[in-house]
């Protein structure tokens, strides 16, 4: 089959003029500012913040997952700074007289072992680096937590905990 629209030369140009008019009408709409909108957005987008921040509102939304004498653990979160993955922990109700240190064990796939970190709990948001080997293909390692007295290293046992408490006082946290 062969179509034949029989467009005369003047008709073709008239159609093209109509198309230009409609194009101009579309482009000059206030939302688009001719070519301004996509270009501005590109410029803005290229300077936007790609980091992933901790969500401070979780401090008010979350309820304790582990209750200690003098502070409560609200749970984990994830942050990203310049490509570096970080584990975030939320703490609440920190009493002024408590002096605890959090010990963290992170499972590493390359050595099939654990790497251990410690950090005194002085603020309601703690950041921990997550080593690259914490991830392996589509898996992430386990994370364990326990608290000790900063001065004596004595183990602090939770008053209540949603996660299971192992005999040596470690608790598997962060949904792992």
């Amino acid at each position: 089959m062969r179509l034949n629209l029989d467009l005369k030369a003047w008709g073709a140009w008239l159609l093209i003029v109509l198309m230009f008019v409609l194009s101009f009408r579309y482009l000059r709409a206030p939302e688009r500012q001719l070519f301004g909108a996509p270009i501005t957005q590109w410029a803005q987008g290229s300077t936007m913040e790609a980091n992933l921040e901790a969500q401070t509102q979780l401090l008010s939304y979350g309820r304790p997952l582990i209750e200690y004498d003098g502070l409560n653990f609200l749970g984990c979160d994830f942050a990203l700074h310049e490509g570096q993955a970080q584990l975030v922990m939320y703490w609440t109700d920190i009493q002024p007289d408590v002096n605890y240190t959090a010990q963290l064990r992170v499972q590493i796939f390359s050595t099939e072992g654990m790497v251990e970190y410690t950090q005194p709990i002085t603020t309601s948001i703690l950041y921990w680096p997550l080593p690259k080997d914490y991830y392996f293909e589509m898996q992430r390692g386990d994370i364990w937590l326990r608290l000790v007295q900063s001065a004596s290293d004595d183990l602090i046992r939770p008053l209540w905990a949603l996660p299971h408490i192992a005999a040596d006082g470690w608790l598997q946290i962060c949904g792992t």
Binding site: E31, R32, M48, A50, R63
Partner: protein, 610 residues
């Protein structure tokens, strides 16, 4: 992922080998193979679902086996095709590779395909219907390894046709993750563009003009954004356009294409209820072709019987099950023919009553259409309601369509009049046709008019119109990419993130960026059994990595029975909306321990059963 790619290649090869038997060549061959490949996957998932055998080894094994048979059956045709291509390439490569302005458009189109394909692999599912409906259906069926009805108060999960979810479940089962699941619609974008090219070429338009015409569809912002969304509208569009272009290809005898059309109709009615409209129109066109070819009535009846069987086999399951369980094949839509009523919950008119944007309220129907087509917005999304068709439609597609309409009126010809009637009737029958993702098929057909106009123009008008098409096409791409739901910061972040952490909860904005979803993701084990309440819980983000958390709905009963029932089912976490009946029930039972509460969601923990 390599297994998924290899299996797709194998299914594609098997489908090509089978369809090559029909004598189809060129674009028609690829279009038919695309329909057959889709039909194969859906049929496989329906059969394995029926047998409660949705396991990876069965899914891969069956696809390998079926396509081994297809390749064995058609390998001579495949070889002959390859030799034919080599000869053609030798003869025509100078003409094919000659520098032309259309290469610029192809470069733009291929660039957008590549960008969206890469985004689909990099980014997680982010859109409402996918996260609330299509992906939960796929995940919950994977968990139950079959197609048993999902017990849920969400009507979208409970009773709608779900062939789209079967395709999503297939990719998740084969790849063992959901990294590629939001690319399920992407191949149908290519299929749609190829179909428009083929359709225009069959109408006698030159190749380069046919390519230009396909841009009205291929570069429309809503089409670009749909390609990475877990919706089904682009699957529907790609399949309808492919079927239409094969129907209009008079080189292919109708008895050869009828089985393929049957497969396509089954896929369409199984995708969504609106597929019934397109299936009816396409079936009507096939009958018209029988009339054209003077097919003997006995032969026609036999072919229609086979076509009906394939249609029901690939799409009838959802309707049959609804009829059996709920007394209405199209539940929850109420259907009334005089005194005969299939009872449902709403009619299409009442369902869409609240979906209309405020900007359209109070306008006449034509004012509404004009407003949507003028796109008074910069918020582009796969489900956008105040635009999405882009500048190509308004400035080029619409006037060119006017020329086609006038020409068809003055000088009616068989296929042009059928195609324009198809586009207009489908548009008129689509409920809420101001909603752009519902009408991309009709808009795509307007691309044919651009192809026809370009084909008729002399050099300078043609170059001018081509340049305008390229500029507006590029502008539409810019709007979709820079004003769509994905920011450049999202892209940078997800490049940094390890593959396992590429979750929708870490996007800048979207349905899954609720703090409750992020808390849940980081603090609830991926192996937990969870229960959910109603009033609009968006389920997929709570299912965790690769949807491993088993999610149940247990209707609330008086305390203490509900807690015990949930505990009996092994549930350890309950997610509810604040104003839901389930939250009322949880608050009356002290054993539900509140772990999280914000304005949108509450999360309770249950003691594990001793």
């Amino acid at each position: 992922m390599p297994v998924l790619l290899l299996l797709c290649f194998w299914i594609g090869l098997g489908s090509l080998a089978l369809w090559a038997k029909s004598g189809a060549r060129g674009a028609g061959l690829w279009l038919g193979a695309g329909i057959l490949a889709t039909a194969q996957i859906v049929a496989e998932m329906l059969v394995l679902g029926w047998l409660t055998a949705w396991q990876r080894h069965w899914v891969i094994g069956l696809a390998m086996g079926v396509n081994a048979v297809c390749v064995a059956f058609g390998w001579r045709d495949l070889l002959s095709l390859w030799r034919h291509f080599q000869i053609e390439w030798q003869q025509h490569r100078r003409v094919w590779l000659r520098p032309q302005s259309v290469w610029l458009l192809l470069l733009l189109q291929v660039g957008v395909w590549a960008w969206m394909g890469w985004l689909g692999l990099l980014l997680p599912p982010t859109d409402w219907d996918g996260l609330a409906q299509h992906l939960p259906i796929a995940s919950l069926h994977i968990q139950s390894e079959g197609l048993a009805r999902i017990a849920t108060p969400y009507r979208g999960i409970h009773a709608y046709p779900a062939n789209g979810s079967l395709l999503m479940a297939w990719t998740m089962l084969v790849a063992q993750n959901d990294l590629a699941v939001d690319l399920v619609q992407w191949p149908f974008w290519l299929l749609g563009v190829l179909a428009l090219y083929h359709l225009a070429h069959r109408l006698g338009v030159k190749r380069s003009a046919a390519v230009w015409g396909s841009a009205v569809f291929g570069l429309a912002p809503v089409v670009i954004l749909q390609a990475r969304a877990d919706y089904v509208d682009l699957i529907l569009a790609g399949l309808v356009l492919a079927t239409l272009s094969l129907l209009a290809d008079e080189h292919l005898p109708s008895r050869h294409i009828a089985p393929l059309i049957g497969c396509a109709l089954g896929l369409l009615i199984g995708l969504k209820y609106a597929g019934l409209i397109y299936a009816a129109l396409l079936a009507g066109l096939l009958l018209w072709r029988f009339w054209d070819e003077r097919v003997p009535w006995r032969s026609a009846l036999f072919t229609i019987g086979g076509l009906g069987f394939l249609t029901l086999a690939l799409g009838g399951f959802w309707y049959w099950r609804n009829w059996l369980d709920l007394g209405n094949p199209v539940w929850p839509i109420t259907v009334a023919f005089g005194p005969f009523v299939w009872p449902g919950v709403w009619t299409t008119a009442t369902f869409y009553e609240n979906a209309m944007p405020e900007a359209l309220a109070g306008l006449s129907y034509f004012q509404q259409l004009w407003k949507v087509w003028s796109e008074p917005t910069l918020a582009f999304a796969p489900d956008m309601r105040l635009g999405g068709l882009g500048p190509l439609w308004l400035a080029i597609g619409l006037p060119a369509l006017g020329v086609w309409l006038i020409n068809t009126w003055v000088k009616p010809q068989r296929w042009p009049i059928r195609l324009i009637a198809f586009a207009l009737i489908a548009f008129a029958l689509t409920p809420s046709n101001w909603h752009t993702r519902y009408i991309i098929i009709s808009i795509a057909l307007a691309g044919l008019s651009l192809a026809m106009v370009l084909d008729e123009l002399t050099r300078w008008p043609r170059l001018t119109l081509s340049a305008l098409t390229l500029i507006l096409g590029g502008y539409g791409v810019g709007l979709a990419l820079f004003h769509g739901p994905v920011t450049l910061a999202d892209v940078q972040r997800f490049v940094w993130l390890p593959a396992i952490e590429r979750r929708s909860i870490y996007m800048d904005a979207g349905v899954a960026t609720q703090p409750a979803m992020r808390w849940f993701d980081r603090n609830v084990p991926d192996t937990a059994r969870i229960a959910y309440g109603w009033n609009g819980v968006v389920l997929y983000p709570f299912l965790g990595l690769n949807a491993r958390r088993v999610a149940l709905y247990v209707p609330p009963i008086a305390a203490p029975g509900w807690y015990d029932a949930l505990q009996e089912a092994g549930v350890t976490f309950l997610i509810v909306r604040p104003d839901s009946a389930e939250n009322q029930a949880a608050m009356l039972e002290a054993r539900f321990r509140l772990m999280y509460a914000d304005g949108s969601y509450l999360i309770y923990a249950l003691e594990p059963r001793p």
